[in-house]
């Protein structure tokens, strides 16, 4: 069971009302291809689905094998319903409410046992500059943008080039590590989502005043060749002064058939086998979370070159 869950990726789609979240979700469903996608939405109202397909009040199965489900009984039970679906789904897309902090939903996804929670935030190019000064939601808008691994700049056709440049510089300021893609009517490609890498959601703002927004940074890498246990240990040992947490699904040279889950905190490291690779390429995906102020990305890239990529230069 755990192995199955680890195979299901989560994509959290955030953004304020009217940004185009539902349109994007519709587009992902329409272009799912061979993927078996589960979708969690507030209600079915604006999804392009045929009401006659409703399996129950809360679940609907689409012709292409995708499954949609509502939040009527809360997020945990929606996850439970989709994860128990057979044959198992590949990806679960969660459409967040307009004021939700996507990082909190990503945390739920991880609690439910899903692999990684990638955060996609949809930004309405025609409204974002106004919303960033809205007396009711300015703070929420900034928080959403900061949480993003991928920013989808939607309705780009509604603004001129100067506005576009201004918006991009604001987005870069708030989320320097997020990728930005443009879209019209939410036409984001699945490959854009994948290109984000297995980004771990940064922790949500909590009541520890020191951990203010934007302090966290995450860095990730995919290593195609299998790793030696000793090299992974070396990487782990070197991380200590620089990072807060790291995890990954890794391929180990002396146990090539099985996937391994690697977890690291400054106090402890664990490496456990979790199921077989099957058709999935046996490669390692590692994510490191640390404080951005300490140049995490540069340090990690150096450490990875030394320990993981066998490149001592």
């Amino acid at each position: 069971m755990t192995a199955v869950l680890e195979d299901v990726a989560a994509i959290v789609v955030g953004g304020y009302l009217g940004a185009g979240k539902t349109t994007l979700v519709n587009h992902l469903l329409a272009t799912a291809g061979e993927r078996r996608v589960g979708v969690i939405v507030n209600d079915f109202g604006r999804l392009n689905i045929d009401a006659s397909l409703l399996l129950s009040n809360q679940t609907v199965e689409l012709a292409n094998g995708c499954v949609c489900c509502t939040l009527a009984d809360g997020l945990p039970s929606a996850f439970e319903r989709l994860l128990s679906y057979r044959p198992a789904l590949d990806t679960i897309v969660i459409e967040a409410s307009g004021v939700a902090d996507p990082r909190k939903i990503a945390a739920y996804a991880r609690l439910a046992g899903l692999r990684d929670a990638r955060i996609v935030v949809v930004v309405d190019a025609s409204a974002i500059r106004r919303l960033q000064h809205d007396r009711f939601v300015a703070g929420e808008i900034d928080r959403q943008i900061r949480s993003a691994g991928l920013l989808v700049l939607n309705k780009r056709d509604l603004v001129d080039d100067a506005t576009d440049a201004d918006i991009r510089s604001r987005l870069n300021e708030l989320a320097p590590h997020a990728q930005i893609v443009e879209s019209l009517f939410g036409n984001v490609e699945w490959s854009d989502l994948a290109a984000q890498g297995p980004a771990v959601a940064a922790p949500p703002q909590d009541d520890d005043a020191v951990q203010h927004d934007g302090a966290y940074e995450s860095w990730s890498i995919v290593v195609e060749q299998p790793l030696e246990r000793a090299n992974l240990d070396g990487f782990a040992a070197a991380l200590a002064p620089h990072a807060l947490r790291a995890k990954g699904i890794v391929a180990i040279r002396d146990d090539p058939e099985r996937r391994h889950v690697w977890q690291w905190t400054p106090q402890a490291t664990s490496l456990e086998a979790r199921g077989e690779w099957g058709n999935e390429p046996a490669q390692s995906s590692i994510v490191v979370v640390g404080l951005g102020a300490f140049g995490l990305s540069t340090v990690c890239a150096d450490l990875a070159r030394m320990h993981l990529l066998g490149d001592p230069s």
Binding site: L17, D101, G139, D207, D208, A209, R245, T265, Q267
Partner: protein, 550 residues
């Protein structure tokens, strides 16, 4: 002809300004036949004279327009709050003023449980009153190293657990979940936050959830209400009214003649109702068909922000005084008018939870907007909590026909913390001020938000009349209100904003014979003593219900 009973009392305060006092009240068919002198009442014909209240004082039963079934539900568990509190049987649970107190209280509870596999669940702990290190698993391990212990904080958003519980659920230093708080040593501290964290303790959450929607939760709420003199009370939006089985359960419990009160459960579009607001409104409109003399469906609660002491209320500039701003909207502000319109246009009454001033402003804007789109008279849409509402906001509320239900118990329970930590001296002096509502001419009531603070009209009236904090400070004597106005605000005031003022809230011919029976005259005692006036019990529909424990 139905029988008439005349209750004689030491005195009766009717809260009807046209006929404020009486020595006796006549009851027929569960309603007030008349109030005045015994001779006047006997002119109606033969009657049984009941003089059990001859040394006691009657007022209309208190009306609580903001309470929750959680008040009944949580008494299924051990109380560890910072103030003395009475359970449904009237037994007083002593205050927990230190971590050592807490450990002692839990040891007693542990000793009472015979089954060693049964978890020990406690509630009411509020870290805001404690300085020093936060409550942790190490503290709770002093109670038991084998029994699972779960201390639910007063906010209901956090639980602190012991090592036995963490072990049972595999929570350790490798646990990588947002809601699991870790200490500097990398080990989990025992604090589980929000559903992400608390949800790991599945069995505990299951026990809590089951108790919250159980018949006993509503019965125990009613027992607490009766002990505090409250005859009409609410369940403000935590029960899933779209659930037919739950509605049948509520009907069965409340319509039982032995149930000592009238009950108005509000629907909440985010809890157990269809996601489409129009469909949710339809459910509530349909439920109105099932209303009885004791059960009132058909109102809706919108929860818009968090709490001030939890730093999750939405504040306008200059924001929080000390402490991190964690303000959070419960639904997107741009969606609020659309959701509100769905209920407003079906003639439903909307009560909106607004703790922060930015939130009050959002709801006032919303009411203005929905009235433009769908003009409607006498809607009585109400700002609930209304804690930081400003003079200017009250003036707009007046113009728009809105009501205020003000959380004056905060003055006593958290007034010191608001003054020193959350909002600072200026806003603390003006917060939860019925005087401001009165100056602007906004109809107002006072509420306790049970289980957040205990039920009881006298304590509420006392807070409004004295503005005393727990440490004995006066939070602005300029905004005290007279005792009579304060008692209005726990009787006819809340009845008005529930649209039940034709039936309850004063002792008047034709209205339900619902009384609170007091051991002293609240108009005669020093205002500072108001909260100490004893409650004998209540009369509901002419039937006496004596308080337990008394």
């Amino acid at each position: 002809m139905s029988a008439t009973t005349i209750f004689k009392a030491r005195t009766i305060h009717t809260m009807n300004p046209s006929r404020p006092r009486g020595e006796a009240v006549a009851v027929r068919d569960g309603r007030v036949l008349g109030v005045g002198t015994l001779d006047e009442l006997l002119e109606w014909g033969p009657a049984t004279i009941d003089d059990r209240f001859r040394d006691l004082v009657l007022l209309p039963g208190f009306v609580e327009a903001h309470s929750h079934s959680a008040e009944g539900a949580l008494w299924g568990f051990s109380y560890v709050g910072y103030f003395d509190r009475n359970d449904p049987s009237g037994t007083t649970w002593k205050a927990t003023r230190s971590i050592d107190d807490l450990v002692d209280r839990l040891r007693e509870a542990d000793a009472r449980l015979s089954d060693p596999s049964k978890p020990l669940i406690a509630w009411g702990f509020d870290p805001i009153y404690f300085t020093g290190p936060r409550l942790s698993a190490a503290d709770l391990d002093r109670v038991s190293s084998t029994r699972q212990i779960f201390v639910l904080h007063a906010s209901l958003h956090i639980g602190t657990v012991n090592s036995a519980l963490m072990k049972a659920y595999g929570i350790d230093r490798s646990t990588d979940i947002e809601g699991v708080i870790k200490g500097v040593d990398g080990n989990p501290s025992g604090e589980l936050q929000e559903l992400q964290g608390m949800g790991i303790a599945k069995q505990i959450v299951g026990i809590l959830m089951q108790r919250f929607t159980s018949p006993d939760a509503i019965r125990d709420l009613a027992r607490c209400a009766r002990n505090a003199g409250v005859t009409t009370f609410t369940e403000l939006g935590t029960l899933p009214l779209g659930d037919a089985a739950l509605v049948s359960m509520v009907e069965k419990v409340v319509n039982d003649p032995a149930f000592p009160g009238r009950f108005a459960p509000f629907g909440n579009p985010l809890i157990g109702l269809p996601a489409d607001p129009a469909a949710a409104a339809q459910v509530l409109v349909d439920l109105r068909e099932r209303n009885t003399d004791k059960l009132y469906f058909g109102n809706v609660k919108l929860v818009l922000d968090g709490s001030i002491q939890g730093f999750s209320a939405k504040l306008r500039w200059p924001g929080y005084f000390h402490g991190p701003d964690q303000g959070a909207w419960n639904m997107p502000p741009a969606q609020v008018p659309e959701v509100a319109l769905a209920f407003h246009s079906r003639g439903l009454l909307i009560h909106a939870h607004c703790n922060g001033d930015l939130t009050t402003e959002l709801f006032i804007d919303t009411v203005e907007r929905i009235l433009e789109q769908h003009p409607r008279w006498d809607h009585r849409h109400t700002v609930q909590h209304c804690q930081l509402t400003t003079n200017a906001m009250y003036r707009r509320m007046k113009a728009l026909g809105m009501c205020a239900n003000i959380f004056t118990n905060h003055i006593y329970y958290w007034g010191d913390q608001h003054r020193d930590i959350t909002v600072g001296p200026d806003r603390a002096a003006m917060m939860n001020s019925p005087a401001m509502a009165r100056r602007a001419g906004v109809p107002f009531a006072l509420h306790c938000d049970a289980s957040v603070t205990p039920l009881g009209g006298l304590h509420l009236a006392w807070t409004a009349a004295t503005r005393l904090t727990a440490s004995g400070r006066v939070l602005n004597e300029l905004d005290r209100i007279p005792v009579g106005d304060a008692l209005d605000a726990v009787t006819i005031g809340p009845a008005y904003q529930l649209k039940l003022d034709a039936e309850v809230g004063s002792i008047e011919v034709g209205k339900f014979a619902d009384f609170v029976v007091l051991e002293d005259d609240p108009f005669a005692v020093d205002p500072v003593e108001l909260k100490n006036v004893g409650v004998w019990g209540t009369v509901v529909g002419g039937v006496p219900f004596q308080a337990e424990g008394g």
